[in-house]
């Protein structure tokens, strides 16, 4: 019996459909379910988490010590490379007094021996209170959520979703504009394979933003996503011309175009050249327009842009910490105090 191979407290039922036995997992106590896609959050919840994040800023900056998550352990399961997401989750947990265990290098973990994701999750679930995960296969985060008793935070699954990145992007936009609704946002570069822009475009649609997708033909936003967005009332314009829309934009969200997507290097050079921003391109743009990038960048934003008032990508990377702090608290059922003052906690 399959059920006999798993701890009895964990497997509460075994579905039997045409000889396929599938374990069904009971969730732990009062914890919320995880964050797999932005559909897991209502607009009100998004706003409320962003407000928590705003209050947690001095904690993220290290100015106040606030051990809200003391005694809690985050499991970092990164089945593919990550710098910012993994480090910012770790920083967020530690700034709140919690601890982190890491899967480590996949090449030396039990995954290389052929362990299923289900089994890996059973193990880490026993060690931790919450799991942050990135996996090359699409749907892996939902699968882990169904397999785990603790909440899962999706840190990227294949070309699927990356909702914690979306939360930090929304935080950055709100920080700059004071609102999320009714903005004109250009998403530029690789819109086909970039999970970041998939999740973000869905979220921006929910807040009534106008979207301009600027990309080479080969890397256009997948048709099913555009259909989904328009079905939800999005106002979407698709173009190959990034520069002509810059003047009307409130946000320009750049992404990296990868060489390996093109058949030959000449084609890449030709195409990628049209999706580069230089400080000289920014004349005539709105004063409060911001330029964002999930990083790492290669050539798509020239260093001359870094010193302009428009550059927000490094602030955006920092915001990964504060947005993830707010999400960790929310999913672990820990309330962020209304008043976070230095009293008793200033460093």
């Amino acid at each position: 019996m399959l059920a006999g191979n798993y701890p009895s407290a964990l497997i509460v039922a075994v579905g039997n459909v045409h000889g396929c036995l599938s374990p069904v997992v009971e969730k732990r106590g009062s914890n919320m379910a995880g964050l797999i896609t932005m559909d897991d959050l209502s607009n009100d919840e998004i706003q409320s988490i962003l407000e928590d994040a705003e209050r947690l800023l001095p904690v993220a900056e290290g100015k106040i010590y606030l051990p809200l998550l003391q005694g809690k352990i985050l499991g970092n399961l990164f089945f593919e490379p990550s710098t910012r997401t993994r480090m910012s989750f770790e920083t967020a947990m530690k700034r709140l007094g919690g601890d982190v265990v890491n899967l480590g290098d996949v090449k030396t973990s039990s995954v290389v021996k052929g362990e299923t994701l289900f089994d890996t999750i059973q193990m880490v679930d026993g060690y931790t209170d919450i799991i942050a995960m990135r996996h090359p296969r699409q749907g892996a985060a939902q699968y882990a959520q169904d397999a785990a008793r603790v909440p899962i935070l999706n840190g990227g699954d294949g070309a699927g979703h990356h909702p914690t990145q979306t939360m930090l992007d929304l935080f950055t936009i709100k920080q700059a504009h004071g609102r999320l609704d009714g903005l004109k946002v250009i998403l530029a570069g690789d819109l086909r394979y970039g999970r970041t822009v998939h999740s973000l475009s869905h979220a921006l649609t929910r807040f009534g933003c106008e979207l301009i997708f600027a990309s080479p033909k080969l890397l256009r936003m997948p048709a099913e996503i555009v259909e989904d967005l328009t079905a939800h009332g999005a106002n979407v314009v698709e173009t190959e011309d990034l520069l002509s829309s810059l003047e009307e934009a409130d946000v320009v969200y750049m992404t990296r175009i990868q060489k390996e997507r093109f058949a030959d290097e000449d084609e890449y050079t030709k195409v990628a050249g049209a999706y580069k921003l230089h400080a000289s391109n920014l004349e005539g743009t709105k004063e409060d327009m911001i330029i964002m990038h999930p990083l790492p960048r290669v050539d798509e934003i020239h260093p001359s842009v870094d010193k302009t008032r428009h550059a927000r990508y490094f602030q955006q990377a920092f915001n990964g910490v504060v947005a993830r702090m707010a999400l960790l608290c929310r999913l672990l059922g820990v309330k962020v105090p209304e008043d976070i003052s230095p009293a008793g906690g200033e460093l």
Binding site: H18, C20, S22, F118, R137, H161
Partner: protein, 158 residues
């Protein structure tokens, strides 16, 4: 050609299940979906492309000495959602059943997207496709969210 004539093409069965109004050419797939193409030991009769007032032409399957369950019949929603099913006892129709599709198709087929987590067949959780629309049938993988191509899906029967 009359309904009666269609039924006479194969002998009336004493006990078992008759699946009528299968879209023309889908009978083989129906048997496959019921896992009856290889493993069954009971007599199975099949007629294909016979005239039908409602459908133009249709297929019919008769399974002797076996009453199919509602769960088994629901698997047919992917290829024959309009099929009529009768349970036969002592040469008479004892029960009529319809094929129902719920909110989800579970452990019938696996997702067609090549990079979905469920392509690793050693993963033990159920294969789940969410029903997003019924006419026409629109399915999305519960895990990766990809819309499913029904033609390809038939090749992914579990």
């Amino acid at each position: 050609m009359s309904q009666e004539h269609n039924m006479r093409r194969v002998t009336a069965i004493r006990n078992g299940t008759v699946i009528d109004h299968i879209p023309s050419g889908q009978a083989m797939r129906v048997l496959e979906m019921l896992n009856m193409n290889k493993t069954t030991s009971v007599p199975v009769s099949m007629v294909m492309n016979v005239p039908s007032k409602k459908m133009g032409t249709k297929d019919i399957i008769k399974v002797e000495d076996r009453e199919l369950t509602q769960d088994e019949l629901n698997r047919l929603a992917l290829v024959a959602p309009e099929a009529h099913v009768a349970i036969i006892r002592a040469y008479s129709v004892a029960e009529k059943m319809t094929i129902q599709i719920g909110e989800e198709v579970t452990n019938v087929v696996r997702c067609t997207f090549s990079n979905c987590i469920t392509t690793n067949l050693r993963e033990p959780l159920a294969h789940r496709l969410r029903v997003m629309g019924r006419e026409p049938l629109v399915l999305r993988c519960h895990y990766c969210g990809r819309p499913q191509d029904l033609e390809k899906l038939i090749g992914n029967l579990l």
